[in-house]
């Protein structure tokens, strides 16, 4: 039997301990939440039958765990001997073995050490505010993002431009910090040096200057051949004209859009009011090929010097007479023609029988006697008896005379006269020679115009689906003095101006003209910029 003094300690309203004493006598004293337990502890943290106090085999009273945990100095034990001073935690209760008075074997005190918290406050402490720390989070994220963007997209690119050491160090790398400023793809032509923005953007806050372009494009020719006029016109940086820099027409960072502008806006800016640019000009105002482009002028090489070129309007028909030195009626070389071998020899001729195309742009080879004329007109270089004629070479007059001297010295004068009136003269103009010349007559040197439209470019290849006659009206041409170049109206049959019209293709300035003048005629743009 155990006689036990149970001292329950509670705290009164003033926080002072109140001890209540009870003596129990039993074989075993059960401790638990259950109402039937000897020591009843009404707390949800205590098991129904938590523990029991009983004597074990050695005769000493022990606290033995039944369904609950016993905790002594932080370790969980199954059985704890209740000797003087032992302190055990039974759930939230502290059990302490007190000095026993003489009438009992054991005295224990029980105190509720861990009170149940207040439910509402407890729950409230476990209920979190929505979006706790939102302000701190937002402020922190704002600062970080702003700092990141400022550093990589503003400070470093600017620093690279302003600090020469950093700039030179960055040129060693494939990309500079300012790469992030590039607004679009660089064209393929400029790709290999575009990684360094400063190659073109040489001065901060200034538009790309022509000098940047000229440092590579040294061969580029100016727009106007006259150097003084070129400088005067293009140095004016009037706002209305946009300041005509290279970059006004050659727009970079627009790939795959073409680098050079293809529209007429910039052309019309000046050529629409050309007198405002140069009061002395003879050029008319032009806005649109369809609307107010003047008729074409043809380039005639006149005079003795081959370079003297005169530009004659197509309307001035009286002066449109070509002096080639040839006598050639196109009308007799077209369609079905009589061949040289009797009346049954009928041949079909077309333009390409004589005008052989050459090159990608379909220019034409010079007409050659051997290739193009001889098959029909060989007899014109034959003299003497028809059964055994003397065949003379086509070429310089001296060679022909030499052949006559060698083969028919006696009839030299006779044959020479035949050639002068019929043989050579059948196709060529013949002129008499001055006294002292080794030859009695000469063939007039040929002067065949190669470039009628010297201010424009025309690609035969892109017109190859058309018939030649649709532009070159030669079927009725009786003489080689006729000029059979198409006029503006015949272009307008298929082409319109800046905007497309019904069944007509839009054709801007750049369709026929180049901005930069012909390289032969002009100095380099680099020189005119100086």
């Amino acid at each position: 039997m155990i006689q036990c003094l149970l001292i329950k300690v509670s705290y009164n309203a003033r926080g002072l301990p109140v001890r209540s004493y009870r003596t129990m006598t039993a074989e075993e004293m059960t401790i638990g939440r259950g109402a039937e337990c000897t020591i009843h502890l009404p707390d949800p943290r205590i098991a129904m039958h938590h523990a029991v106090i009983k004597r074990l085999d050695d005769g000493q009273p022990y606290l033995v765990s039944v369904n609950g945990e016993l905790n002594i100095d932080g370790s969980i034990r199954q059985a704890i001997p209740l000797t003087h001073g032992t302190q055990v935690m039974i759930g939230p209760y502290q059990l302490k073995v007190e000095p026993a008075p003489p009438d009992v074997n054991l005295a224990v005190s029980l105190v509720l050490a861990n009170r149940l918290p207040d439910d509402f406050q407890d729950l409230k402490s476990r209920t979190h505010e929505p979006l706790q720390g939102a302000f701190v989070f937002k402020r922190r994220l704002s600062i970080w993002m702003a700092a990141f963007i400022m550093l990589f997209f503003l400070v470093l690119p600017i620093a690279q431009s302003l600090i020469p050491q950093l700039h030179s160090a960055m040129t060693q790398l494939p990309f500079g910090f300012d790469r992030v400023w590039s607004p679009g793809h660089v064209s393929n032509a400029h790709l290999h040096f575009s990684a360094q923005c400063s190659n073109c953007h040489q001065t901060l806050t200034r538009k790309v200057a022509d000098q940047a372009c000229i440092s590579c494009h040294r061969d580029t020719t100016p727009h106007i051949v006259d150097k003084a006029l070129q400088q005067r016109v293009f140095k004016t940086t009037r706002l209305t004209l946009g300041g005509v820099r290279c970059a006004e027409c050659h727009r970079e960072h627009k790939a795959p859009h073409p680098l050079a502008r293809q529209d007429d806006g910039m052309c019309v800016k000046c050529h629409g009011k050309i007198k405002a640019i140069d009061a002395n000009t003879k050029l008319p105002d032009i806005h649109d090929f369809d609307r107010d482009h003047p008729g074409f002028k043809l380039s005639f090489s006149t005079g003795d010097a081959a370079k003297t070129v005169e530009r004659i309007p197509q309307t001035d028909t009286a002066r449109l007479v070509e002096k080639t030195g040839l006598k050639f009626p196109h009308s007799q070389h077209f369609g079905k023609v009589q061949g040289p071998n009797g009346i049954w020899d009928v041949r079909e001729l077309s333009c390409t029988n004589c005008h052989r195309q050459e090159g990608k742009e379909m220019r034409f080879k010079a007409v050659s006697f051997q290739r193009d004329c001889q098959s029909c007109h060989a007899s014109k270089l034959e003299v003497g008896h028809a059964a055994n004629p003397l065949r003379l070479p086509h070429g310089a007059e001296q060679n022909v005379m030499n052949a006559l001297k060698v083969n028919a010295p006696k009839q030299l004068a006779h044959y020479s006269e035949i050639l002068k009136t019929d043989g050579c003269a059948y196709c060529h103009e013949i002129e008499g020679t001055k006294k002292g010349d080794s030859l009695p007559w000469r063939v007039v040197p040929l002067n065949i115009n190669q470039d009628w439209f010297s201010k424009a470019h025309f690609n035969h290849a892109s017109h190859r689906t058309q018939k030649c006659q649709s532009c070159h009206n030669v079927e009725q041409s009786e003489t080689s003095a006729d000029v059979a170049m198409p006029d503006r109206k015949s272009c307008l049959r298929c082409h319109s101006g800046n905007s497309p019209k019904a069944k007509r293709i839009a054709s801007g300035c750049m369709s026929c003209h180049s901005f930069h003048s012909h390289p032969v005629q002009s100095e380099r743009l680099a020189e005119s910029l100086k």
Partner: protein, 276 residues
């Protein structure tokens, strides 16, 4: 009838203004095509860009304006304009870009703007939807009232459970001890907790009710109904927290990204005129 909300403020004044802005933007875009294709550096591009920049600063000013209780016009009107003109701004900026995008500061600024606007749209949506749902969920209660009722249920449940077997008592005690509401951001946004001790306790109690002693059965029925009621209360509290979290969460993006947008926009303008 309620007098005007932010959407029909002054008979849709700012909605009409936004529509006019968008139409004008599109008309200008279609009429003036630059020769080298649409881009921000044409005169039209500069015009749209300048207008957009001014509007962005004005939108950002709303963040300051709404915290002031004096100033021009009603805050309601400012918000209405903020929403409608912000939408129009997005269209104008897109036209300003000429639909050219790349890995650069220009597209970064555009992306920031899109994030700000889209988060703003979401915020708009939450303010249209959630206040009503919150009222439906809470009725006359507020969150503290709910918590008080949960705490009362706790106390009652624990008292009953004291008389019940250990497993039931432990389950109830654990549910009361460990239930928490809106632990992390994710739980707050989702509005429920997958391992909620209250819900688990109800499930476990349902299983434990089978083999009870006769004297416990009535108590068990009381306890079970208390716990079920308690769980409903917990769920409603979580739901309330979810609505409040969602009402504020879009600002996690809207505010920081608008700060970032301002910086990116300044960098964009500086970049354009430094390498002019």
């Amino acid at each position: 009838m309620q007098r005007g909300n932010i959407f029909d403020y002054k008979n849709y004044l700012y909605f009409k203004l936004a529509v006019i802005l968008i139409l004008l933007g599109f008309a200008a875009y279609l009429m003036f095509e630059p020769a080298v294709g649409y881009y921000g550096g044409s005169w039209l591009g500069y015009g749209l860009g300048t207008l957009s920049a001014i509007m962005v600063f004005w939108m950002a000013w709303y963040g300051i304006r709404k915290r002031r209780y004096r100033g021009s016009g009603a805050t309601q009107g400012w918000l209405s304009a903020h929403i409608y003109l912000g939408t129009a701004l997005t269209v104008l900026v897109t036209l300003h870009s000429g639909f050219h995008f790349g890995f650069n500061i220009h597209t970064l600024a555009y992306g920031m703007l899109l994030i700000v606007v889209i988060s703003g749209f979401f915020g708009n949506y939450t303010y249209m939807i959630y206040p009503r749902l919150m009222t439906e969920n809470m009725g006359e209660d507020n969150l503290d009232g709910l918590l008080l009722r949960i705490a009362e249920a706790d106390k009652l449940a624990r008292q009953i459970a004291l008389l019940m077997p250990d497993d039931i008592n432990n389950t109830v005690a654990r549910a009361c001890r460990e239930t928490s509401i809106g632990i992390g951001l994710l739980e707050q946004l989702r509005g429920f907790q997958s391992d909620c001790p209250s819900a688990m306790a109800v499930e476990q109690l349902a299983l434990m009710g089978h083999d009870l002693a006769v004297e416990h059965r009535k108590l068990y029925r009381d306890l079970y109904s208390i716990m079920v009621r308690r769980e409903t209360l917990v769920r409603r509290a979580r739901q309330d927290l979810m609505y409040r979290a969602r009402l504020g969460f879009w600002l996690y993006f809207h505010v920081p990204f608008s700060i970032a947008l301002l910086v990116a926009m300044v960098a964009h303008v500086v970049a354009v005129f430094f390498y002019w």
